[in-house]
Structure formats: structure tokens, C-alpha cells
């Protein structure tokens, strides 16, 4: 029996992975569908969607054409079907604030800026948080651990927009090292990325620490030492490989949090990304663009969660066989 399992190992693994991923994709699509429902309903919540989606000075012909195009004279569920059909093709109407721009096209133009900033923030959080969390666990109870914990507490309690402002104050105004706002060079990205990453560093470091503490107590860590493996290899290979699964589960939340952070921080630093567009669109009561931004954010978020799932499969053999 055992032999057959061994022989089937590989084939079974591939099947299980596919099934697992298919389930994750399905649930992501479902969540996306729910978001479209919410966005759609909200556009009706404000009263007449014509008011929300067309400029105030629209002519009667424009209004009639709009009602025809979006099927606003039909029952609600048909309207939703039309909305969904258009949404699938990326059609959210035209922007009111940025006259004549296609709403989704305008948002997509801004997407690379947001992704750059978010990517840099994620990179920063991982590069700082993992060593910090590992060090805190390895030197548990020492001043290293205590200061890491203090740092984590501070980081999780600091409002990121305020941190952004303080960073501008210190590094741009006082020291004059980095630009205050805008986009262009890598230097422009440093302060906003720090402001977004700060909270994540604390959360990730905390998680890494507790995961490492648990793993370092495991028998297989003892076995590795008994084999004569050096302490650094024990920590960075044997322990971290297992502990990394826990912070990884947090990456889904991390993606959401960085996304939220980007809305706030792009506003602070006038970084012309999707978050900045979202706030400007709300100020201009530009509902087509707000809808497009929300859906675009949701799609980014779902995709990053799927990437996490893939990483998950890659890093933990237990999941492959689950």
C-alpha cells in the first residue's frame, strides 16, 4: 500500500494542486462578482443613476441616449446584466471630471504608478521584517527582541498619512535629501514606500517572530542540530522555510493593506496613481471613474491573492497533498 502511494505521489500531487487552484480562482471570481453587485447597487442608492453618472449640464438627448445604452428603463436585474456585460469589456462609461476620457482607460493609465509604489513597499517590508522577526525570535527575551517588539507596537499604532507628513518634514524639508512629492525618479518613491511599508513591517515582523518561536522548538530543528548543521543554516534554512508559511498567509491581508495604504499615501505625496485618481474622482463626483477604480483595485487584489496561493503551494509540501 505504502509503495503504491509512493508511486502515485507525483501524479496525485499535480491533480491536487490543480483542484486547489481551481477552487481558489472560482472563489475569487465569486467575490469579484459580489463587488460588481455592490458597486452597481450603490450607483442606484444615490437616487437616479443618471445624476450620478452624467454631468449636471447634460442635455436631454444625452440623458435619453444614456438611458438607452445602459438600459435604465428596464428592470433592475436587466440593468445589472447590462452593467456586468459592459464591465467585462472594461466599459464603465466616460469620465465626468476628465472630460472625454474613457473611465477604465484612464484608471489603467494610472495603474503602473500604483503597482510600482506597492511593489517597492512590499519589497521593503519583506526585506526588513523577515530578518527583524527572525532576530527577535532567535534572541528572545534579549534587548534585541524587546526593541523589535517596541518597534512593532509603534509601527502598528502610527497613522500612515501622518508618518508620511512627518517623513516629508524630516527628510525633505529639514534635511533636503528627498523630494517632497510627485513622481519621476526612484528618489520620489522612497518616502511614500516607507510610509506604506511601515505598518506592514511591524505586522510581518510580529508574525515572523511568533512563527519562528514555534518552529525553533520543533523536534526537526533539534534533529538538524544533532546532524551537525550550523546554527545559521538551522535558522535560515530549516526553521525559516517552515516558519515562512505563516507570514505568507498574511500576504493576502498585506495586499489589501498596501492597497488601502496606497490610496492614502498617494494623496499625501501627490503620487499620480489609482488612489490619487480615486480621491480626485470622488471630489469631482465622477462616479464612472470611481466604479472603474474600485473594480481595478479589486482585480489587482484578487490576482495578488492568487499569487499568494501559488507561492503557498510552492513553499509548503503539506498543502500539495492536502
Amino acid at each position: 500500500m505504502g509503495l503504491r502511494t509512493a508511486l502515485m505521489c507525483k501524479k496525485f500531487k499535480e491533480y491536487a494542486v490543480l483542484k486547489y487552484l481551481a477552487r481558489r480562482v472560482a472563489s475569487s471570481l465569486f467575490a469579484l462578482l459580489v463587488i460588481t453587485v455592490i458597486v452597481f447597487l450603490l450607483s442606484h442608492l444615490s437616487g437616479n443613476p443618471v445624476d450620478a453618472l452624467l454631468p449636471d449640464d447634460a442635455s436631454q438627448e444625452q440623458i435619453d441616449a444614456f438611458i438607452r445604452d445602459w438600459g435604465l428603463d428596464k428592470p433592475l436585474w436587466q440593468q445589472y446584466a447590462t452593467f456586468l456585460g459592459n464591465a467585462v469589456h472594461g466599459d464603465f462609461g466616460t469620465s465626468l471630471k476628465w472630460q472625454g476620457e474613457d473611465a477604465m482607460g484612464f484608471v489603467l493609465d494610472r495603474m503602473p504608478a500604483t503597482l510600482q509604489l506597492g511593489g517597492l513597499a512590499i519589497l521593503m517590508s519583506v526585506v526588513i521584517a523577515l530578518p527583524l522577526g527572525v532576530a527577535a525570535a532567535v534572541y528572545k527575551g534579549t534587548p534585541i527582541d524587546n526593541s523589535a517588539q517596541m518597534f512593532a507596537l509603534l509601527g502598528q499604532s502610527m497613522p500612515n498619512f501622518w508618518l508620511g507628513i512627518v517623513l516629508i518634514w524630516v527628510f525633505s524639508v529639514w534635511l533636503g535629501w528627498l523630494p517632497t512629492s510627485g513622481m519621476g525618479t526612484i528618489y520620489h518613491a522612497i518616502l511614500p514606500a516607507i510610509a506604506i511599508a511601515w505598518f506592514q513591517v511591524s505586522a510581518l515582523a510580529r508574525l515572523t517572530r511568533s512563527a519562528m518561536l514555534e518552529v525553533l522548538d520543533a523536534e526537526y530543528i533539534k534533529l538538524a542540530r544533532v546532524k551537525g548543521v550550523s546554527e545559521s543554516v538551522v535558522i535560515w534554512k530549516h526553521a525559516l522555510r517552515n516558519a515562512a508559511v505563516v507570514p505568507l498567509t498574511y500576504f493576502g491581508i498585506l495586499a489589501a493593506s498596501i492597497l488601502t495604504g496606497s490610496v492614502v499615501i498617494e494623496t499625501v505625496f501627490s503620487w499620480p496613481g489609482m488612489g490619487w485618481v480615486a480621491i480626485e474622482a470622488i471630489r469631482g463626483r465622477d462616479f464612472p471613474v470611481v466604479q472603474a477604480v474600485i473594480i481595478a483595485y479589486a482585480v489587482i487584489y484578487m490576482i495578488s491573492n492568487l499569487v499568494v496561493d501559488l507561492l503557498y503551494v510552492a513553499i509548503d509540501p503539506r498543502i500539495r497533498n492536502d
Partner: protein, 330 residues
């Protein structure tokens, strides 16, 4: 079987390990003396908490940092003092000269690496060679511990194997570098009885092949009787009795040993009830006067409560030692 004229494989003298906590300190290993020769199996027996595992970990110098440290004594591997080695030198000893098999097969393999990777890691450290042969050597090690279809198993992750199979893999890791000594710390407690017996037979066969010394740590006198040549009985951090299996079973000098033997079914053809030892061992930091076993001992008298018995020669030839006042009375 014993080679008294040569230097013994392992010689432990007056070993003391101290654990210090905020509440105070105590000695889970308190003045150990024993030797292990080539091809010999030494059983360290005692209840849980008696300091058996602490003895084992102190031999490979893997005591928990900060909390515990070797206070005094000497551990000599073929005449070489292990306590004087640097950490880097000690790492070379671990796994290649002294290997260890840990208690729990369910958790002592790293879930993130394949069986083959974990076996060949030991080779890489102690006997490096070309990468291609690593796999072959890992398969070889699995074959030695009688794992069926090792060519396939070598690529499996631990969670794909049964408990007994995992324990064999742990064994394969231990023997992979042909160590001089294997320390087995209750390696079979979580396995079922048939698997247990198979595993113990396997260990014995491996010993016959290689002539390695085995230190077997257990609470089960039944296993000791089948497997070991010499026994060390521990109670409350101290060795209360030591000697050859035959002598100790024939004539246990310490009431604690007697009670442990009595707790094993049918070992000496006992037909009566199994005895159990009443009470609990004292708490680690309890101040003690006299013999630590006295409160649980049916034969204790006032002297036992007043004064700690020294290590005494039970049979008059230095081969069977016990620390119990009753030895003097015989």
C-alpha cells in the same frame, strides 16, 4: 564483549548539568559516571523527568542555551575531551561520530524537505562528494534501514510516509555517516508494538554490522532487557544503580530499580500483580536531605531520610554500583 584494556568509546566522569531559572537552580544531571565500549549498548532508564534526555543532550552539547550548562565533569570520546572542543569542532562530531535518534518520528523530520534532501544533508556536512552520488547514497542509507522501494521514497516528503517509515528515515539519517555512537532517546514510544519490535531488531542488526556503540534511553525495562548490555538507572538527576543487565535483573540493589523491574509484565516469570511505584518524584528545586527516593521507598528507614547514600559497590567487584544504604546492610 567489553574491552577493558583499551580506551573506552565514551567515558563520562562526574558530569553535572545545571539548569538555572529565575526561581533558582538545580542539577538534572548530577555526578554521572559511566562508560560505553565498542559494540556495546548502554541503557539509561528512569521515569520521565529523571534527567535522561538531559543526559543525552549534554553528551552532544546541545543543551538549551542560557538555561542549562555543563557545570563540571568530563565527556571523553575515544580519549578526546568533548567539553574542550570549539563549537565548530563539536559540529563535526555531531552526526558523524555521535548521532542521535529523537523521540517522535511524527515531528522529527522537517516537513518542508524531501527525505532524500534530509539524509544527504548529513553527507554534505561530513563526507562531501559529487551531487549525483548524494541521491544514490541517500537511497543506500534508506535500504540499510530496510525501507521498501527506497528509489521512490527518497523523493517523498515526510507527510507522505507512515510513522514507522518516518522513524526508519530518522534512523537512516543517524547511521548515514557511520557514527561511532548512536544515542537513541526513547525512539519507539510513539510507535505501535510490532513496529517497535521491528525497529529495535533493526538497530541491533546495524550494531552487529558496524560495531557502533548505542546509548538507549527509555523508561521501559522490558526494552532494556532485550537490547542492552549495561544499564544505568536514573532517579531525580542521579544515577542510583549501574551494572550489567544480568546482574541488575538478577539482583537489583536499589529499591527503585526493583520497583521498575516489577512494573514490567512477565519479565522474570512473575505471576503476581504488577507493582507500581507510589507517589511522585520530588519537585526539581525542593530542598532535599537524604535519599530523594526515600519518601516513595517502602524500605526506607530514618537514615535514608537523614543522609544521602554514597555510591556503593553492591557485589564487591566494582562492576555493580548502587547508591542505597541497604547495600551496606547486606
Amino acid at each position: 564483549m567489553t574491552q577493558t584494556q583499551d580506551t573506552p568509546l565514551l567515558e563520562v566522569k562526574d558530569l553535572r548539568v545545571e539548569i538555572s531559572t529565575k526561581a533558582g537552580s538545580f542539577y538534572p544531571v548530577n555526578g554521572h559516571n559511566f562508560t560505553l565500549n565498542k559494540g556495546e549498548t548502554l541503557g539509561i532508564v528512569g521515569e520521565s523527568g529523571s534527567g535522561k534526555s538531559m543526559t543525552a543532550t549534554s553528551l552532544v552539547r546541545l543543551l538549551p542555551k542560557h538555561a542549562a550548562k555543563v557545570k563540571s565533569g568530563s565527556i571523553k570520546l575515544e580519549g578526546r575531551e568533548l567539553l574542550d572542543l570549539s563549537e565548530a569542532e563539536m559540529r563535526k562530531v555531531r552526526g558523524s561520530e555521535i548521532a542521535m535518534i529523537l523521540q517522535d518520528p511524527q515531528t522529527s523530520l522537517n516537513p518542508s524537505f524531501t527525505v532524500g534532501e534530509q539524509i544527504s544533508e548529513a553527507f554534505r556536512l561530513h563526507a562531501p562528494g559529487p551531487k549525483k552520488t548524494m541521491r544514490a547514497r541517500a537511497i543506500d542509507a534508506l535500504r540499510k534501514v530496510k525501507v521498501a522501494a527506497p528509489e521512490h521514497r527518497v523523493d517523498c516528503y515526510p507527510n507522505e510516509l507512515s510513522g514507522g517509515m518516518r522513524q526508519r528515515v530518522v534512523g537512516a539519517i543517524a547511521i548515514s555517516c557511520e557514527p561511532k555512537i548512536i544515542i537513541a532517546d526513547e525512539p519507539t514510544t510513539s510507535l505501535d508494538v510490532t513496529v517497535q519490535a521491528q525497529y529495535l531488531r533493526l538497530l541491533k542488526e546495524l550494531q552487529d554490522d558496524t560495531g557502533m556503540g548505542i546509548i538507549f534511553i527509555t523508561h521501559d525495562f522490558g526494552i532494556v532487557a532485550n537490547l542492552c548490555h549495561k544499564i544505568v538507572v536514573m532517579y531525580f538527576g542521579r544515577i542510583v544503580e549501574s551494572g550489567s543487565v544480568e546482574r541488575i535483573f538478577a539482583n537489583p540493589a536499589h529499591p527503585y530499580t526493583e520497583a521498575l523491574i516489577g512494573a514490567v509484565p512477565k519479565l522474570r516469570g512473575h505471576k503476581g500483580r504488577l507493582t507500581t511505584i507510589k507517589g511522585q518524584p520530588p519537585a526539581p528545586m525542593e530542598p532535599l536531605q537524604g535519599c530523594p527516593f526515600a519518601p516513595r521507598c517502602e524500605k526506607a528507614d530514618s537514615r535514608c531520610f537523614a543522609e544521602l547514600p554514597p555510591t556503593l559497590d553492591a557485589d564487591g567487584d566494582g562492576e555493580h554500583l548502587a547508591s542505597c544504604w541497604r547495600v551496606l546492610d547486606q
